[in-house]
Symmetry: C3
Subunit: 662 residues, 3 copies
C-alpha cells in the first residue's frame, strides 16, 4: 500500500434521493480517499436472470474517479436476488434447522453448482464493467463468507468423499472416532450417519472442519475468476469477521482464516467493538493481531463502526481513538461501514458516518480531522511493522472441540490476550500452520484441547530450545480427532511441563494460594475448570486453597531443556495471570518501559517506512490523564511538538499521542 486508506462503504443503490455528487464532495472534504462498492447488491446488478445493469456501479466509479477517490470493488455474491431463489430454491442451504427461507443474506449453499453458475456469471460481468477504471485499487471477494452450516445431502456426499480420502477404510474411521460407542460403528461409506444428528464429537468436529474447508475452496474459486481480470497492481482481499457476540470477540468458529486467506494478496477484516464507557481497544488489538498474521503483513480494516448500533454512538474523540488504534496495530486502511445510515430494512440502526438526515454531523466532523491527519501523516503511518516477542497460538480445532462441550475457547483466549493487553504487552497471533514459533521468546497457548501429536511436539521443542511457554488447562488432552490421548495428561507435553493429572473438576468456592506470586486477597478465586495437578518435576507456583483439593497444584513452572514451561491448571483472575506473566516475561527479558504503565493507558510500538520507531500512547478512559513519556526523544506527529523522555504528557478523555523517535 502506498498510502493510508481512509474510506467508507458506499451504496448509491441505497440512497433515498440523488446524492452522488454531494456525497463525493463531502467525502473529499473529509479526506476520505477510498470507497468500497458493489458488495451485496447482486439484485441491482442483475435485476432479472441474465439481464445486467451496472448503472449504480458505473455511477459510483465515474463520480469517484472525478473526485479523485480510489475504489475497492466487492463481488456481490453473498446475497442472492429474489428471482434466483424463486427459480432455484434448492440454492438455499439446508441447515440443521431445515431448508432456509429467502430474505436474509448468506443463506445459500456455497457448494451449489447452480449458485456457482450464477455467481460466476455476475462476477465476470462486473469485472468486465470495472476493468477499465484505473482508480480501482483492489477487489474484495464476497463478504464475511462462512459455510452457513450447509449440510444437505449433496454436502454430506462431499463429506463422505472427504472421509474416504482421509481414512481409506471405515475401520480406520471407526477406530479413530471410537464409533463402537453407543453402537455408532459404521459398516460402509453409504451408511454414514448424518453428522448433524451425531453424538460422536469426533465425527461432528470433523464435519465442522470439513465445512470450514468449503470456505477455503469457495474463496479460492472466486479469486481465480477475479484474477483473470485483475491488473498486477490490484490487490485481492476479503473481509473476514470474528466470532460475533454482538461485537468482534475472537477466533471465527466457522472459517479457518489462515487457510482461507491463502488465495488473497492482502488480508482484510471487519472489527466492531463496544464504545462509550466500554471502549477498551481490546478488540482492535485482538482482531488486528489475528488479521496481521494471515499474510504476515499489514492488513485492511475494511469495515468498522462509525456510529453503528444505538449503544455504540461514540463520545467525542472516540472515532479518532479507534482510527489511530487500528493504524498502530498495523492496519493500512480504516473504512467505515458505511457512509450513510440506511433508511429501510434490517440495518437501519447500524448507522453509518452520516445519520439518516445525510447532513454533516458530529461523527462526520470528527472524521474530517482524522482524514486530514491521515493525509498529512500517511507516509509516516502506512506499512508500520510490528516486532513482537510474544506469540499466542490459536486453533480452530480446539475451539470447535471445546464448543461441543459448551466450553468457550475464546473466553480463555481473551482472558490471556486481554491480560497481556492490559500489561501493554503486544503480541502476535499464530496458527498451527505457522512454522515460526522460534521467532518468539514467549509462546502463550490457551486451551489447546485438540492437537495432533506433531503440533504438541513442536511446542515441546520450542521450550527445549529455550523458549518460555505459558499454557493452560485442557491443553494436550485430545488428538486432532478429539480422541483423548490414552496416556498421562497433559499428553506429549508431560515431561516438558513436569506435571501429571487424571482428575479435574469444576471449582466451587475454590481459591488459589501462592507463596511465590503476589496476588491480591480478593483475586484468588479459581473458576471455570480445575485440574488436580500433581507436580512431578515442576515447581508449584500456586496450590488450590480448598480443604480437600489443597494438595493439588493450580499453577506450575518447569525448567525443561533450555526453556521453561508454565502451566495454569485453572482459570484465575486477571490479577493472578498478570503475576504469572510478569514472572515469565521478566525471565524472558520481555519487560520494557511500556510495563511502567498499564491499561487504560495503552502503548503500541511500530517501525515505519523510514525505519523510525513510532510510539502510540492511547488514553482509553473517560478521564484526563497525565502520563510520563517513556521512550526516546521524538516528535508528536499530530501536534508536531517535540517530546523528551520523561516529559509529562496530558491526555484528554479518549485522547492519544503519536511520537516518532528522532
Amino acid at each position: 500500500m502506498d498510502k493510508l486508506l481512509y474510506g467508507v462503504a458506499y451504496y448509491d443503490e441505497y440512497m433515498p434521493y440523488e446524492r452522488l455528487e454531494k456525497d463525493m464532495e463531502m467525502m473529499k472534504a473529509a479526506n476520505i480517499n477510498v470507497i468500497r462498492i458493489a458488495e451485496s447488491t447482486w439484485a441491482s446488478e442483475e435485476p432479472e436472470d441474465g439481464v445486467f445493469d451496472f448503472t449504480h456501479v458505473e455511477r459510483a466509479l465515474e463520480a469517484s474517479q472525478k473526485a479523485g477517490l480510489s475504489v475497492i470493488v466487492g463481488t456481490p455474491t453473498y446475497a442472492i436476488p429474489p428471482w434466483l431463489a424463486a427459480k432455484h430454491p434448492e440454492i438455499l442451504a439446508v441447515t440443521p434447522r431445515g431448508k432456509g427461507k429467502y430474505g436474509a443474506r448468506q443463506n445459500m449453499d456455497i457448494t451449489s453448482p447452480i449458485y456457482r453458475f450464477h455467481a460466476e456469471r455476475v462476477i465476470r460481468k462486473l469485472m468486465e464493467c470495472v476493468q477499465k477504471y484505473p482508480h480501482v485499487i483492489g477487489f474484495q471477494l464476497d463478504n464475511e463468507t462462512k459455510h452457513y452450516n450447509t449440510c444437505g445431502p449433496n454436502v454430506q456426499k462431499m463429506f463422505a468423499k472427504y472421509l474416504r480420502d482421509k481414512f481409506g477404510t471405515v475401520e480406520a474411521m471407526n477406530e479413530a472416532y471410537g464409533f463402537n460407542y453407543w453402537s455408532n460403528r459404521v459398516d460402509s461409506w453409504e451408511n454414514l450417519p448424518d453428522p448433524t444428528g451425531s453424538i460422536n464429537w469426533s465425527y461432528v468436529g470433523e464435519f465442522s472442519k470439513f465445512q470450514r474447508s468449503l470456505v477455503d475452496e469457495y474463496l479460492a474459486w472466486q479469486a481465480k475468476i477475479v484474477r483473470e481480470y485483475a491488473r498486477e497492481d490490484q490487490f485481492i482481499t476479503h473481509n473476514f469477521d470474528y466470532e460475533w457476540r454482538g461485537y468482534s470477540y475472537g477466533v471465527q468458529p466457522d472459517v479457518n482464516h489462515k487457510l482461507a486467506a491463502k488465495c488473497l494478496t492482502v488480508a482484510g477484516c471487519d472489527i466492531y467493538h463496544p464504545t462509550q464507557d466500554k471502549l477498551t481497544g481490546k478488540e482492535i488489538a485482538m482482531g488486528g493481531a489475528l488479521c496481521r498474521n494471515l499474510k504476515q503483513d499489514n492488513y485492511l480494516v475494511i469495515e468498522t463502526e462509525a456510529q453503528g448500533h444505538a449503544n455504540w454512538t461514540p463520545y467525542d474523540g472516540q472515532l479518532r481513538l479507534h482510527a489511530f488504534s487500528h493504524v498502530a496495530s498495523g492496519a493500512n486502511a480504516v473504512m467505515y461501514w458505511h457512509w450513510h445510515s440506511i433508511h429501510n430494512s434490517f440495518e437501519t440502526y447500524w448507522k453509518g458516518l452520516l445519520s439518516h438526515d445525510l447532513q454533516p454531523n458530529a461523527p462526520y466532523r470528527e472524521a474530517c480531522t482524522i482524514g486530514a491527519d491521515f493525509a498529512r501523516l500517511s507516509h509516516k503511518l502506512v506499512n508500520l511493522k510490528k516486532k513482537n516477542r510474544v506469540g499466542m497460538l490459536v486453533s480452530n480445532e480446539a475451539l470447535t472441540a471445546l464448543s461441543l462441550w459448551r466450553f468457550n475457547y475464546n473466553d480463555v483466549m481473551r482472558w490471556m490476550f486481554d491480560t497481556l493487553y492490559e500489561m501493554n504487552i503486544e503480541c502476535d497471533m499464530l496458527f498451527p500452520q505457522d512454522e515460526n514459533f522460534e521467532d518468539y521468546d514467549v509462546l502463550v497457548v490457551p486451551a489447546l484441547y485438540s492437537a495432533p501429536r506433531e503440533l504438541l511436539e513442536r511446542i515441546r521443542d520450542f521450550v527445549k530450545n529455550g523458549g518460555e511457554l505459558v499454557t493452560t488447562f485442557r491443553t494436550g488432552f485430545t488428538d486432532d480427532n478429539q480422541k483423548v490421548y490414552p496416556e498421562v495428561q497433559p499428553a506429549v507435553l508431560q515431561d516438558c511441563l513436569g506435571i501429571a493429572y487424571d482428575e479435574f473438576t469444576i471449582p466451587e468456592n475454590v481459591g488459589i494460594q501462592s507463596h511465590v506470586l503476589s496476588i491480591p486477597a480478593d483475586q484468588q478465586q479459581a473458576s471455570l475448570w480445575m485440574e488436580l495437578v500433581r507436580a512431578e518435576d515442576a515447581d508449584v507456583l500456586a496450590y488450590y486453597d480448598h480443604k480437600f483439593w489443597g494438595k493439588y497444584a493450580a499453577i506450575t513452572e518447569n525448567a525443561f531443556g533450555e526453556g521453561h514451561a508454565t502451566y495454569l491448571a485453572t482459570m484465575t483472575s486477571a490479577a493472578a495471570l498478570k503475576a504469572v506473566f510478569e514472572r515469565v516475561l521478566k525471565r524472558a527479558g520481555v519487560w520494557g518501559v511500556e510495563q511502567q504503565t498499564k491499561f487504560p493507558m495503552i502503548i503500541k510500538n511500530a517501525v515505519n517506512m523510514d525505519g523510525k520507531t513510532v510510539h502510540f500512547y492511547f488514553n482509553y478512559s473517560r478521564d484526563d490523564v497525565e502520563q510520563v513519556y517513556l521512550h526516546a526523544d521524538g516528535v508528536e506527529l499530530i501536534s508536531s511538538d517535540s517530546v523528551q523522555n520523561g516529559d509529562i504528557m496530558t491526555f484528554e478523555p479518549w485522547g492519544f499521542k503519536v511520537i516518532e523517535e528522532k
Copy 2:
C-alpha cells in the same frame, strides 16, 4: 342499552351433571341478568359434518327465558370440530412455525374457503335456531378473532394482490421498501419473497398490516350473515382482546380494533388484570378507554375474571371494585368468564364465579351484592358519558414497526397512560383514523414511530391551532412504509417541536437534570432510549446528566402557533413525567380537584342519563383510607347517604363510593 348488564358466559355443554335449573336459580338470586352462550362449542352444535344439534343452545335459551335472563349468542366459529380438521387438514393455518396441529382453538386459516363454507353453514343454522327467542339481545361474532399468523401460499397470493393494488409496479415497491438493500430487489410480482423470511421490516410490517386487514374482512363477513337474521333491536358485537402479557396489557398487535369494529353496532372486549396486592385498575381504565373509542360510545366488558388464575383469586371486596371500575369507565356490561369452573382441559384453572364444587362460595356471595346494586342503580349508571379533555393517540403501525426492533410500544404507551391514571387524569384513546384531535385540549402521543406525513401534519396543526402536545422519542422517525424520513428528525414536527437530532443511544448511567421541573433526586434516571436533542427554538426543560451527553436536551417545550409542543427525548421515571404533565395540563387548564389526590385513590367522573354528574372514588389499596370529598354535594348511591363537599369519607381496603351530584 336500557339497563346495566351483569352476566356470565354459560356452558350447559361443560357441566359435569344436570345443573341447568339450579344454575339459573343461583344466577337469578345473584341478579345476574344476562348470559353469553354458544361461543366456541361448534363440535356440540354440529357433532358430525352437516348434522346439527342445538340441544344445549335451546336448553340454555329455554331456561334463561323462563328465569327472565337475557342472552347474548356467540357464533361458535373460533374453535373447529375434530371432524372438520380431520376431513380438511388444509383448514389449519400455516404459520412461520409450519402447519398447525388440531387441538387448540384459533388455529385455522380464517381466509380458507373450506372454513368459510362450514362456518357460514353453522352460523346460519344457529341463527335459525335462536331467531325465535325474544330475550336474545345481541350477537357476538366469533371471539377474540386474530389472524393467527396465517401465512400459507394462498395468503401470500392475497398479499401479492394487495401489494399490486397498493403500488402498481414492483419498481414503486422496491423504492418504498428500499429493496435494493441486501439484494432484495424484486423483478416481478411472481418472485415476491416470502415475508416470513424477510429481513426487510418495511415489507414485514406491511404483511402484518395486511394480516390485520384479514380480521376486518372476516368479521364484516360474519356480521353480514348475522344481520340477515338479527332483529333491529339486537346488537352485534365482538369480544376484542388486548396485547396479552398474562393479562390485558395494551394495544392488540394483531388486530386494528378501530377498523375491525366498523361492522359492529356495539363495541365489546375482555379485560383481564392482576388482582390481590397488584390490583390497580389501570388495565380496566386502559382497556375501557380503547374500547370506548371504537364506536365512540359505551361498550360491553364481555369477559373479565371472577376468580380466574390461581394468582388472581380476589380478596374480599375486589370483585365489587372491579365491577364498579368498569362501569365508571363507561361499560354497560360486566360479564364474567365464566359461570362455573371447568372440570377438564386447558382452562381448568381459569376459574369462574363458582368453584369446581358448584356451590355458593365467597366470590358468588360478593357477586350477589354487585347484582343487587346494579339492579337498583341501573338507571343511574347505565350509558354513562365521559367528557375527557386529554386524548392519547395510539397506532398499530407504530407498534408493529417498533416490535420489529424488539422495542415495546405498549411499554411507552403504558408509561404515559399509567402516569396520567395515577394523577387522576382520565383520557380518551384516539386512533389515526380519528379526525377529532381538536376535541381535546391536550394530545399525548407516545412513540409514533411510523406515520404518514399527513398524520404528522395533523398533529402539527393541532398545536398550531392552540393544542398542547406531549410526544416522545421515536415519534416522526419513519413514514408509513417504515422508511426513515431522510430529513432532520423529528420529521414533519421539527418546527413544531423546535428541536433537531440525528444521534441517539441507549442510556447507561445517564440521568436528567432540570432547573424547571421538580424531580426527586432518586427519580432522575433516563432509560430505554435517548436522543441527543439539540434545542433549536425550543426551551429546554431538562438536560441529560452525563459527562459527555450533558450538552443535549432530554425534555423540551416549544411555543408553536397558538399552542405548545413538549418533547420527551428519553424515557423518564413516572415522577419526572408527572412533572411534565402537571406543567402542560395546568397550562391547558386541565387541572381540577381530582388532582388534589392521587393513586391509590382513583377518581372517575361521568354524566348519567339524567344529566347528572357522577363521581366514583376508588380505594385501590389494601389499607383503610380517609379521603376528603372534593366535588359538589350529592348522594352516595350505594349507601344513599348525603355527601357534602369537604366531608371526610372513609374507605375500606378495596372500597369505593359513587356520588351523584344533586
Copy 3:
C-alpha cells in the same frame, strides 16, 4: 443373591488399545467381582445386517471367567446400528419434534415391527453365544428403557385401539374427557385428534399413560425371549432410571416402574447424584426406596458414578460413603458406570473408575478398599432387610397430570422425602398398585392430584382403621381421567381430613402461624401453592399469616375413625414440615433413638441374613463429627471394634461406621 456384588460396566469394544488382561487383573486386585457387558454395543455385535460378531463379548466372557468374575449380560438393543437406521429410517421414532435423526441412543420406535425383528434376532444370537458360560449370573434387558415419546401414526392407531377398549363409545370418552370444551368433541374413532396437539390434559395424560404401557409390553417381550435361554439360577433385571435433573431426582415420568418390573426377577436401577459438598445421600435413599419396592426385595444398583461428570469428582472417602449407603438401603450390588473413561464421543466426560490414562488413580485405590470390605463382609451385608413403619405413596398419574400444569410433582415428593431423611426416618415407597397400606403406621401422600375414587377410599380406610395419614395440597382433586371431582374438595377424603376448600392461590408474602407447632420465625413462609382451607371438623395446626387470607387454615389435623389425618394446604419450610412429622410420628409411636440425631448424621437400620440388626452411621459432612452410639452394643464391622451404647464415636469427613448388634 449369595454375595454382595461389586462391579463395573466393561466395554472391551471401547478400549483404545489391548487392555483386557490388564483390566481383569486390576479388577481382581480391587475385589471387583462382577462386570456388565454387551449393553448398547449392537453395531459391534452385528456389524452388518445379519452378520454377527461376538468377539468382544466372548473375549470379555473368557477373560472374566479366567479371572473369576461374574458377568451380567445386557441385551444391546437400546442403541441401533447405523446400517439399520439407514436401511429402515422408519424405525426412528416420530416425536412431537418430528422424525428423529440417527446418532443418539434411544431414538427408535420401540413398537416398530422392523425394530422388533432385528432386536429379537440379535438378542437370540447373543443369548446363544453367552449360554455356555456358567459365570453369567444374570441378564439385563435393554437399558433405561422409556417410550422416547414415540407418537407416530402407528402409535396413534394403537392409542385409538386402547381408547376403544377403555371406553367402548366415543360418547363415553367425550364425557370422561370433557371434550365439549373448545369444540373438541369427537364424532368417531377415526377422527381422533393427534394427542400431541391437544389442549385437553385428560386426553394428553391418557396418552402418556398409554406410552408408559408400551414400555411394560416391550420389556415383557424381551424377558420372554431371554427366558427361553436363561438358566434357573440366572436373574433377569433391568436398569431403571429416575427423573433426570442432571442427576436422579424422583419418580420417572416416562415409565411406571412398578408395572414395567413385573417381567423381572430382580429389580435394578441406576442412581446418580451430586457429590463433593453437595453429597447428601438423599438420592441414594430415595432411589433405593423406589427400587426396593418393585419386587418387594433387595435390588441392584447397576450403575452409579465413580468419577462421573467433572463436577462430581469425589473427595477422598466419598466413594466409600456412596457404596455403603447403597448397601444400607438394601442394595445387593454396587456397580460403576463404568470401568474406564471413554476416549471419544458423548460421554468422554462421564468418567469411569479409571481416568483416561487407564492407570491406578485415587478413585481406583479407594475402590480397592471398598472391594476388600465388601468381600470380607459380604455375608453380613448382602440381602439386608428393612422394616420401615412409614410408607410414602407415589403416583405416575399424579406426576403426569401436574406436569401438564407445569407443577413439579417430584418437588413435593422430595420435600417430604428429604425432610423425613433429614430426621432419620427411613421410609418405603408405595405405588397405587400396592395393596399393603396397612403394613405401615404412617402413610405419607404427596400431592395425589389424580386418583380414582377407589384409591382415595383405600387411603380413607387406612385412616379409619387407625393409620396416620399426612397428605398435602392438591391431593384428591381430580379423578384418574384428570376430571376435577365436582364435589367439595379434597374429594373422597373430605370427611377423613375434616376440611373443605374451593379456592386456592399462589402465595406471595404469605406466612403461616401456629400456636401448636414450633416453627422458627424465619421458616414460616408459605410457597408454591396455597388452598384456602376451612377447617370443618379438623383442628387447625397453623393458619395463614396474611391480612386477608388469615382466616383460612394452612395445616390441619383430624381424628377420623381409629386414626388421624393431617393436611398441609401449602408448601412449608422443611422446618415446619419437620414439626408436623414429629407430631404425627410421635403419636404413631414411630419415634426412636435415631431421632436423637439428624442430618448430616444419617442412620440406617437393617437386619442381615443372620437375623442380626445392623446400624449404619453415615457422616454426610465435610467436617469431623462426634456422635454417641445410640443402639444396642455391637461390633463395628469395618474395624472389628466393639461398640457400646453411649460410646462417643468419631467420624472423619464423609466417614461412616457399620455396627452389627450382638
